[in-house]
């Protein structure tokens, strides 16, 4: 067993491990932030997985055909926003249960991308035959020269940096802007918002569009930063993970970041599992298990707070 602890120490003292954590966290972080803003407006964006798939695919196609990875990124973002609006239309306008809308959107997203891969490439599972670009990596001058820290923090993809910056942007949006105020009001007490003339559906639609935008970033990351092509089921359930991370992070940007990093940490660890001589599948199970446990602890805490309130006022 000494070998295990030494190896574990070896991983934890290896800068590459932390680099990997930061990298694999990024797409989950985007998606979690997307779920969080929708959740804040009182809408559970179950369709995140489907939104990510469609965005990832659109990005690759646009990038390949325009020859510009930036056009690809923009296209992915537009696709994400449009998908968010589709969710909004069915859930808010046609009054379908938003969870079921999400499930249907995931179904459509999976199907449409799988179908179109072949249409565009003649290949059945990936778009490797297309010349789509990768978003650039940034070596940050100054930072990259710092020992250890430089190799952890520098050289990431531009979207990786953006995902962490996005935490601040989302926090700013939610807590400092008028829109954020309205989103939170609508999510917490739609009657209160409506009584002072704040359009409930309008605000929720905007939140879902922003949620779609985040899904767009997450999708673009998968196919243009994480990989350089689109593959069937490329998101591998990250949309669902985001939903869980968002629930555990109580839909706060900061909480979302922490829970996303928790995922990223175990995810990265699982790739090192072999050196630890423990089965990588079991390590992969850890983030899900951690989320489940976290969710329960979070729920118990919420309960206790409620009870406390009842008792102190009595």
């Amino acid at each position: 067993m000494t070998g295990f602890w030494e190896n574990l120490a070896g991983i934890f003292t290896n800068a590459n491990f932390y680099f990997a954590v930061i990298r694999v966290t990024a797409p989950i972080l985007f998606a979690t932030l997307g779920c969080a803003i929708a959740e804040k407006a009182g809408s559970t964006n179950m369709g995140m997985e489907g939104i990510m798939l469609v965005s990832a695919f659109t990005g690759v196609i646009a990038s390949a055909f325009s020859g510009s990875v930036w056009v690809g990124l923009i296209a992915a973002l537009i696709a994400g926003v449009l998908m968010g609006l589709v969710v909004a239309y069915f859930a808010l306008k046609l009054k379908v249960d938003i969870i079921l809308v999400g499930i249907a959107v995931n179904l459509i997203g999976t199907g449409l991308t799988g179908f179109l891969i072949y249409v565009f490439t003649g290949d059945r599972s990936t778009t490797t035959s297309l010349q789509s670009g990768m978003l650039p990596q940034l070596n940050i001058p100054g930072l990259q020269d710092i020992p250890v820290l430089g190799s952890i923090l520098s050289g990431h993809n531009i979207l990786t940096y953006l995902s962490y910056i996005m935490v601040a942007i989302m926090a700013f949006l939610m807590y400092k802007t008028c829109l954020g105020l309205r989103i939170r009001a609508v999510g917490e007490n739609p009657d209160a918002a409506a009584s002072v003339g704040v359009g409930v559906n309008k605000t929720k639609t905007i939140a879902l569009a922003i949620s779609g935008l985040m899904g767009g970033f997450a999708g673009a990351f998968m196919s243009m930063a994480y990989l350089s092509y689109f593959a069937k089921g490329i998101t591998a359930g990250r949309g669902y993970i985001a939903l869980a991370a968002c629930a555990m992070g109580s839909a706060n940007p900061l909480g979302s970041m922490l829970t996303s990093i928790l995922f990223g940490f175990f995810y990265a660890l699982s790739t090192y599992a072999r050196t630890l001589n423990i089965p990588d599948q079991l390590v992969t199970t850890l983030p899900y298990l951690a989320t489940l446990v976290g969710l329960v602890i979070y729920s118990i805490k919420v309960r206790q707070n409620e009870l406390k309130k009842l008792n102190t006022k009595e």
């Binding site: 559970t44 179950m46 069915f90 306008k93 046609l94 009054k95 379908v96 249960d97 969870i99 079921l100 809308v101 499930i103 249907a104 959107v105 995931n106 179904l107 459509i108 999976t110 199907g111 449409l112 991308t113 799988g114 179908f115 891969i117 072949y118 249409v119 059945r124 359930g237 669902y240 993970i241 939903l243 869980a244 629930a247 089965p279 599948q281 079991l282 992969t284 199970t285 899900y288 298990l289 989320t291 489940l292 969710l295 329960v296 979070y298 729920s299 118990i300 919420v302 309960r303």
Partner: protein
């Protein structure tokens, strides 16, 4: 002049109203029918347009998509093969959704149910005809029930969001399953297959040359059971009452929390059985390295069946028909099978949209009311005349 007494007149109007009310019932169901037709129409149109735009030989592709099951015995057998797992997960979701429990853990139940059944057939009871598959299926069911029960209990006890926790359970099931496969059950001679399942544990095929296996009978029995449970027993009644209005259910003396958990245990059991049947019916070795998607299919099917197992045969037949078509089209005409998911997703959205065609509904209600008013006037006139004659 003789007229009807006031009492008689009220009585007459009442019978008229009763007669007319009977007709008015149908406006809603007529509109529902219209909506369903429109939803299918939209889904089908989108699918056809996509085929026409992308297929190299559109005519042929459309032909396969629309009529493949009738074109060969193998295709028809594929249709039946597709129906079997859908009946299981569809039943499971019908039961859980009837009680309004959004447990999405069926993916995990189905997956581990399949694994356990395989393990049972490899190691536990490998060579007793009839008993071997039975044990496998029961064990699959039990494991499946445990998988959905965990999130159910977490919700019951601590109010943890069942949707999220059941999604997490799916992945835990997958990776635990993969771990078991790769570390204990994998045949070293293969890359990802387990040791072979005992012959006696496999579900027997019915017809030579097809893959239709005796699982279809179990699936049919489970569907009938689900229907009977939900609509012919007090338990099912209690589940539905809980799903429709939990306050009403509590007020009527039902144990709402326990019923919610129970619905998920039954759902998981059926899901696990489905996985077991699928495994023992179609595979010689366990080889699933990813979730099967049949759990999600269950949601689609349940939506088509309006959460009533009575409609499951029709709903699964409908879905399986086009899936078979898409499958054949994929290797005959080079249109990816994934198209059928788009088709299903679009139909689900429009089937659920109660506000869809709301304008038409208003118009229909008005026309109906108008027609009724005229009929009533006519009836009343007649009665007055009759009264006058008397």
């Amino acid at each position: 002049m003789l007229t009807l007494s006031k009492a008689e007149k009220t009585k007459n109007t009442k019978t008229i109203r009763q007669m007319l009310d009977y007709n008015s019932l149908s406006v809603k169901s007529k509109h529902n029918l219209l909506r369903t037709a429109a939803a299918i129409g939209i889904g089908l149109s989108v699918a056809l347009v996509l085929i026409l735009l992308t297929a190299k030989n559109p005519g042929q592709a459309v032909k396969y998509f629309l009529a493949a099951p009738f074109m060969s015995k193998a295709y028809f057998s594929h249709l039946i093969e597709v129906i079997i797992p859908l009946l299981f997960t569809g039943s499971a979701v019908c039961i859980m959704f009837s009680a309004n429990q959004f447990n999405l853990g069926l993916e995990g139940s189905f997956y581990l149910g399949g694994l356990i059944a395989a393990v049972s057939g490899i190691y536990l009871v490998t060579d007793v005809p009839f008993i071997s598959p039975l044990v496998g299926i029961l064990l699959g069911g039990i494991v499946g029930a445990i998988i959905t029960m965990i999130p159910a209990l977490l919700q019951y006890k601590w109010n943890a969001n069942v949707l999220v926790s059941s999604l997490m359970m799916n992945y835990i099931c997958l990776y635990v399953g993969l771990f078991l496969l790769f570390h204990y059950f994998k045949d070293p001679a293969s890359s990802q297959h387990s040791y072979p399942i005992g012959d006696a544990a496999a579900l027997t095929s019915f017809f030579k040359g097809t893959k239709i296996h005796s699982g279809i009978i179990i699936a049919a029995l489970v569907t009938v059971f689900s229907y009977l449970l939900l609509y012919r027993t007090k338990t099912g009644y209690s589940l539905r009452a809980t799903g429709q209005n939990p306050i009403f259910a509590k007020y009527s003396g039902l144990n709402v929390g326990a019923l919610a958990v129970f619905s998920q245990i039954i759902g998981g059991f059926i899901g696990g059985m489905g996985g077991a049947v699928q495994m023992l019916g179609l595979y010689e070795r366990f080889q699933w390295v990813d979730l099967t998607n049949f759990g999600w299919d269950g949601v689609t099917i349940a939506i088509f069946a309006k959460n009533n197992p009575k409609y499951l045969p029709l709903a699964t037949l409908f879905i399986a028909y086009f899936r078979t078509g898409a499958w054949v089209m994929s290797f005959k005409a080079g249109v990816q099978i994934d198209l059928v998911s788009v088709f299903e997703g679009i139909m689900v959205l429009f089937l659920l949209a109660e506000r869809f065609l709301a304008g038409t509904y208003k118009k229909m209600v008005f026309e109906d009311a108008d027609r009724k008013r005229k009929e009533r006037e006519a009836l009343e006139n007649n009665m007055d005349k009759e009264g006058a004659q008397a």
